[in-house]
């Protein structure tokens, strides 16, 4: 597998791992999380090798004697050699070796509609919606990583979504669950120590060069508020002060911000099937997309990630058929941004990418 790599020299990141010895069948490639249909139990994980020579669907089932991954896989978190797969409607977290995908443990107690996981202070922190219809029972569960059990919970505001750690503190975006959130909670010493107002429906959180970046999608036009502008909010994680805000231009507020990823000094994000690229130190967001994935046949952009000079996007295809992953060049001397490098059919509802490289 470490053989002929399809080389793309990179502008944002350097290829660090090319040529190293793989640590398992699913090393040196990307894990694609396919969330699956609600109540149908067809969540899965696909693997695509960095050289595109191997792609395999349903790797969790294949490795673990045909076991079903579960119902609606929400996210994966890596901690050392382990991958924590949060399976929302199965009310569980599957812990596997991230390279071999062999099952290590299953966490079930005090896990209720889990969303995302982060690691800090030698513990795991899992956001949970509780009963999604109940706005008052949402919490962050603390996982003892030696026993893989939940040992305590921290109540938080409705709809806790992504979670990241920085210097022992945790930051939680409140997308709002079935309603509309607009804050980021700060957790220190296992209690909510601060609440930072951000834009509407904050989701992605990334720590980049010591700053916390929050992607706020904006409310949909069906929301009681009507549609509101999506924005990127840069926060100083030590003071919780907002350092910068990049807001979609008025003319673009006809659709919500899609998925975003920050790599190096650039923000990549989607609106509909268009992909935009913007420097993190820019003062305004671009109005012209870098490329449009519809040109290669994508009907939607559900997941988006950037790694090793490549842009990965996933098309959920309406969840009625298997979705597709499109891999594009992020732009360099050899390939302009938006050059399609690979297209693969994966599982149902591909939503996110996790890189083993």
């Amino acid at each position: 597998m470490a053989g002929a790599l399809f080389f793309v020299s990179c502008s944002d990141d350097d290829t660090k791992d090319a040529g190293r010895v793989p640590l398992g069948s699913y090393d040196l490639g990307v894990l694609v999380l396919n969330e699956g249909n609600f109540n149908t139990g067809n969540a899965s994980v696909s693997y695509i090798s960095d050289d595109f020579s191997v792609n395999q669907n349903d790797i969790f089932s294949i490795v673990n004697d045909g076991a079903a991954l579960g119902d609606v896989a929400q996210s994966i978190g890596f901690n050392n050699d382990l991958a924590y797969i949060l399976v929302n409607n199965s009310q569980k977290i599957e812990v596997v070796n991230r390279y071999s995908f062999k099952k290590v443990a299953t966490i079930t107690g005090q896990v209720r509609n889990p969303r995302y996981i982060a690691f800090a202070n030698g513990k795991g922190y899992v956001t949970n919606w509780g009963d999604p219809y109940d706005p008052n029972d949402d919490y962050v569960a603390i996982v003892d990583l030696s026993t893989q059990t939940v040992t305590a919970t921290i109540p938080v505001a409705e709809g806790p979504e992504e979670i990241v750690s920085n210097n022992g503190k945790l930051f939680v975006s409140h997308f709002g669950g079935y309603h509309y959130g607009n804050t980021v909670s700060v957790i220190s010493n296992n209690t909510v120590s601060a609440t930072i107002p951000v834009g509407d429906r904050p989701k992605e959180l990334q720590i980049i060069n010591g700053s916390l970046w929050v992607t706020c999608k904006g409310n949909s036009f069906y929301a009681p508020s009507g549609i509101t502008a999506g924005k990127f909010v840069k926060i100083n994680p030590d003071t919780n002060a907002v350092a910068a805000t990049l807001t979609l231009a008025d003319g673009q507020v006809v659709a919500n911000l899609g998925t975003s990823a920050i790599s190096g000094t650039n923000i990549y994000y989607s609106i509909g099937t268009s992909v935009f690229k913007c420097a993190t130190d820019a003062t305004v967001l671009p109005t012209i997309p870098a490329f449009n994935a519809a040109d290669q046949g994508a009907a939607s952009i559900y997941g988006l990630a950037v790694n090793n000079g490549r842009i990965y996007i996933s098309d959920d295809a309406g969840f009625t058929v298997r979705g597709k992953v499109y891999v594009y060049a992020a732009g360099n001397a050899e390939f302009a941004i938006g050059v399609l490098l690979n297209r693969t059919t994966v599982g149902v509802g591909p939503s996110a990418f996790y890189f083993n490289n």
């Binding site: 139990g41 079903a68 009625t320």
Partner: protein, 608 residues
Amino acid sequence: MTAKKLFLGVLFLMCQIVLAQKDSIALKEVLVSDYQLKHFSDAQSVRKINDTVIERNQSSLTSLLNYNSVIYFKENGLGMVSSPSFRGTTAQQTAVIWNGININSQLNGQTDFNTITTRDFSEISVKAGGGSIIYGSSAIGGSIHLNNDLSFKKRFKNEIRLNYGSFNTFGGNYKLAAADAKTSVNLSISRNSSDNDYEYLNTKNLRNENGQFYNTSVNLAFGYKLNQANVLKLYSQVFESERHFSGTLVSPSRSKYQDLNTRNLLQWTASNRVLVSTAKVAFLSEKYKYFGDFDSDHFETSKAETFLAKYDLNWKISRKINLNGIIDYTKTKGIGSNIGNETRKIGSAVLLFKHQLLKKLEYDLSIRKEVTNAYQSPVLFGFGTKFTASKHYNVKLNASRNFRIPTFNDLYWQGAGNPNLKPESSYQAEIGQEISFGKFNISATAYYMKIENLLRWIPSGNIWVPENVGKVNSYGVEGLANFHKKLGSHFIGVNATYAYTVSENEMLKKQLAYVPYHKFNTELVYSFKKINFNYQYLFNGQIFTLADESDVLKAYQVSNAGIDCNFGSKNTYKIGFQALNIWNENYQSMPQRPLPGRNYMINLTLKF
């Protein structure tokens, strides 16, 4: 508007009074509750399921029709939400008609077939194909008719039926049928409950957790003859249930769902030799509460209340020509956690014409137009003909345009609903043949159907929204056969249905998900004196669970057997025993939701 309503009201009343003054023919002893089903469905396939068959089957409408019709069911576990698919269509494209009134939910457009207790009805009919002109929205794949026909033959009959079986399943039903020449009453009270904690076959001690349910229903049909020309009828039903929604093989559940449905219909029929005039008023209500956690006080709820006024005049122009006009007005108010507070008003006019052209040839023409504030409504029309070549053979031909209107959820769901949706509409045609020789009947029907503006909820950013996106072409063949014979103390009866269904997404050119190509069922009944034996068999072909045909749910075969013995001489005292899924088939009609393995039921029936 008010003046117009008043005028219409006065007009109805005058018709009724004028008719009442004329002398009239004696009303027939049995009054059917669904006039058009009896008089304007000659050119279509209608399968009647009588009370003996209803009695032999389990009490849910799902179970009855799964084993006795061509309809395919998707059941979220035994007793849970059950959606029919008739001729490859969606659950919202099958109409359920209660004593002539469409009772599909105003909120989600379908009837949950596990919220209908079959024992409450004297007859259940399955009509295949289009019926929107008569019955309104949803009658695309076909319609199910729940009828309480009233007899004015003097009698006083009680019936008690009790059954108990595996998983602490209990069923109780009491029926009263009382009548004299002027008054007729049919009352039915039912209660069903189950722990429903069956084991999942081939697993390590996994059970159907959180699947317990109960339901209670009362159904009343009351008829009173004012005189020979006038009769008043009242139909009334209450259905109340609580179901914990069971989990799946891979997802536990803590949810709970409560239903409360009430239906009331008052009608006054006046008739003479030439005219039959019927005025109806109905009030229907539906309400649900959904608890995400059965332990929590937090729930989501919605309700819809429908008021309906209908006037129906049938004019027998000559011995060979029948003209039937219907106008109705429906006002529905929906209120709920997710739909706000919305009111929808629909007025419609229908004209049906039937002509016995030749001794062997009849045809019918029909048209319907709706006027509403909620959506653009197409003109519906239909044509049917029946050629009776001999008493052994006839051919039926039928073509119609039908529709399914957007539901309250589609239009008004907060954060997703789309008020600009169009109704789904279909063009369909079918040809059927019936052969009968004495006690042997066989029929075969081939159909073609084109459905446009299919309403689907599709992802749009972070939410799912309804849109008119799909186009579907369906075609197929249905066969029905039955035979029965009595030989001395022996009786033998056989029923069978088969459906071959192709239902193709026009864009993908693939079979729709959750539509089997093949479904077959048969029942064998054998009686010797007072001992009855029956055996049911169901074959359900493989289905695809994704629209690109990349994932399947395997075919299954399920058999049930029952035996009962009547110990009564004058009255009926019957004890019966049933083994369901006797070959212990491990099967699912929805992915990850196993249905029960072999289980047993004993039942007791007393008629006095």
